[in-house]
Symmetry: C2
Subunit: 481 residues, 2 copies
């Protein structure tokens, strides 16, 4: 409960994060190590994320389907890189219905293999392509170090899986979807991201290219927030997924996969939250406006609650997700703190003096104290003003996070400079033409990894910060969750 | 593909069912025995079911949450009846991250136990009650005889879990939710149901009372289509889930759980389908209106496709889910069959003569041939007429299914009569005051079980059909899926 408050971010960012999750009732720990319960308030944020993404997936021609949780163990082993990537993280079902199974079943860590098995049956001719599927599902990865939302033994996500006639089409699809993620992150979550290509070392197990959106958390660490992979024909060759082309010859299909998970809730917490708790972007906020009626006497109570009810009606009609906190077991001050902890973008205060004047007070979550308060708004105008203010909060959260991101990315020209930037907690950006070994050395020395080779490049060329060799693109380095 | 058609229902109902699932592309078999892939068309029906239910759950004050897939094995064993019911059907994870686990993990068959574990932590005082949760999730039961949608190793469902201060409140909640299911089934799915209480033998493992909605499939077999349980304090006692009452004393909470699954897609198929394939109730149909443009020459093609496009726009604006089948790789006749197989409620035909006259033809899926066709509908009126016709189809499917249900339930006064009704494939309804043993004898002799003791009772009393003892209520017997 908010009485306890949260550890200040500056004191201990990791504790702050866990405190906010507890106090805002977003999640709780499950009885099995590394598992998590997503509580109603956290789940409502996830539902809004789901809706924002699902709409975009359908607009870009994808259909939802559902594939089984259990995958035969032999499937995982068909694609060489894939098995190397996932074998250490598997959960295995070995007993079913009281009997030892002949072949253990893998609890899906991701569904490329089982989907390829089905693609092989469904795709016969070029007329069956492209096949553009998505599924909303739970997946399991046996992670050792877990943290709510960011890394859990089981998590919820969507995984898109598409099949195409050519490598070029798969490449275009993979690029399309990473841009869908970028648009969602910036437009709905007010989370600015650096979108780009993963280095070879960081490419998904089984992919030709992996694309990513990388967000900067409040402690400046990076969070990989969504990825999109061009799988080429790697899985098609492993599973024999071929189609008869217009030329009447057999070809391997080209594929993509792309996913965004409940981890994104962690990004929302860490990008926008402050010492008062959560601060939610209006488009994802389960409650966008909380109305807090204020009264002292029983006589005042009725008038104030009536006015609050009418206001609630007005906001709801305007399409705003609004609630009234009318309990008399808590003081207004307690309620202010509580709903600030919950990150509700706007609070409306309505008391006896407001009733006399026919006005209300609007308070923005993103601006503290008096600065965020607008007094004397006429009742009739409250819906319109609240809608406009929600749009302002959405824009202002994005602008603030964008300023934080760009002021903490530093251009570096040499390795020493990179080390200094990383040691100070920032992100380093510089020309890069290094090998895998060079990249590993950066990780060993500094703890930072190449987050991506951004799509947004300066142009031209320059000397690799590590090797001095001519480089055609810059890479972004950071420590990451 | 619909070229193959489906086995007539009268020839082999079981094969007809599987043929429809294949030809309408609703589902496919997974590589692990008993698992199923829900294909996009089947999943779109499930999404419409989800929306219809989720809206009702939220309107009745429930919130969604998400609980872990993995449950410690010891949890399942805490509630005596529960473990007896579920132990034979469990899938166990024994290896995680390459290591043998100390305690096997159960892949959830249902979530009462893990949710009780959390209730015990979250519920401290009467102020925390009622707690009204729901989750959309996958569950696993190691079934031996499986059939797509009806009984699969893994299935998708929602499971509601609520905690209350008193037994009476839990009872009211369990009743509320079985009535929510009934309302959904009849209003949205056009599936009439008999709602009632389960016999003691058929009560959920761990419940005090189980309530059910029972639907009659096209072969007259019953399908349990949704259940709601008053768990009393059985789980609370097993898990020690207590709260401090207003009287400052500790009390066990009372609970409910209720679920409806992808099995319901099977009900929709079997209640409405015919020898031409699926027939979907408009409220659940992914595509409500299919527009089939008809042309012979290239000159006709342009005009017809333009008109089809305008019509599509008109329907979409009217809130109708409409599509155009404009491929030139198939004939209009092939398309008619295809969309009938898919169960689309209304087809709009638009050809060169319609262009001349400024009219279209509307054809209803639920009425074959000329009877279902309405010619000469003016373009401007098509949206309105289609909307009205969708409402008619919805009503007519329900009425037809309701007539089928009531004409196949027979009142019986003695056991011989019951046996005859069941042998003829019907449902039998009669006064019942039998013991568990009597009920088991019916099952052994006839294959039928008590589907429920309906809420809708004739009133009064009569002699038990089996024992002759005075009975205060009637039971409904049927063979079931």
């Amino acid at each position: 409960m908010p009485d306890e408050g949260v550890t200040p971010r500056s004191t201990d960012y990791g504790r702050w994060y866990l405190d906010v999750i507890r106090e805002a009732e977003l999640a709780d720990y499950g009885p099995v190590r590394g598992t998590m319960i997503i509580r109603p308030y956290g789940y409502a944020i996830w539902e809004n994320i789901q809706q924002a993404l699902d709409r975009r997936f359908k607009e870009t021609g994808h259909q939802n389907a559902y594939f089984p949780l259990f995958i035969p163990h032999s499937f995982i082993q068909k694609e060489k890189q894939h098995v190397e990537g996932f074998a250490p993280e598997l959960a295995l079902v070995t007993v079913g219905g009281g009997k030892e199974l002949d072949e253990p079943l893998v609890v899906r860590p991701t569904s490329e293999t089982i989907i390829n098995h089905m693609f092989t049956q469904w795709i016969k001719s070029y007329r069956d392509l492209p096949m553009l599927l998505n599924q909303w599902a739970n997946v399991v990865r046996w992670e050792m170090r877990t943290r709510p939302f960011l890394r859990t033994l089981e998590f919820l996500w969507q995984e898109g899986h598409t099949a195409h006639a050519t490598y070029q089409e798969a490449e275009a699809e993979a690029m399309l979807m990473v841009n869908v993620y970028r648009d969602f992150a910036e437009t709905d979550a007010a989370v600015p991201v650096i979108a780009g290509r993963k280095s070879r070392l960081e490419t998904f197990a089984g992919a030709v290219h992996s694309y990513t959106i990388e967000a900067m958390m409040g402690d400046m660490r990076a969070l990989q927030s969504g990825t999109s992979h061009n799988l080429g024909d790697n899985f098609a060759r492993a599973f024999g997924t071929q189609f008869l082309g217009e030329n009447n010859e057999l070809h391997f299909i080209s594929q993509t996969s792309w996913g965004l998970s409940t981890r994104f809730v962690g990004a929302v917490i860490m990008v926008h939250g402050d010492d008062k708790g959560l601060a939610l972007p209006p488009k994802l906020a389960p409650t966008q406006v909380i109305i807090v009626p204020i009264w002292r006497t029983e006589g005042e109570r009725t008038g104030v609650l009536n006015a609050a009810g009418r206001l609630h009606q007005q906001l709801t009609t305007a399409g705003i997700r609004a609630s009234i906190d009318s309990t008399d077991q808590r003081t207004p001050g307690w309620k202010f703190n509580f709903w600030e902890m919950k990150g509700v973008p706007i609070r409306i205060e309505i008391g006896p003096r407001d009733i006399e004047k026919g006005t209300v007070v609007l308070a923005r979550r993103d601006k503290p104290g008096r600065e965020g308060k607008t007094m004397g708004i006429a009742w009739d105008a409250a819906g319109e003003r609240a809608a406009a203010m929600l749009a302002e909060v959405q824009t202002s959260l994005l602008a603030r996070a964008r300023a934080f991101l760009s002021s903490n990315i530093h251009d570096v020209t040499g390795y020493k400079e990179l080390q200094e930037v990383i040691a100070a907690g920032g992100w380093a950006r510089g020309w890069w033409a290094g090998e895998d070994d060079d990249e590993l050395r950066v990780k060993e020395d500094t703890g930072a990894t190449i987050r991506c080779l951004p799509f947004d490049q300066p142009g031209g060329a320059g000397p690799c910060l590590m090797t001095g060799k001519p480089a055609g693109e810059v890479a972004v380095f950071a420590k990451a969750y």
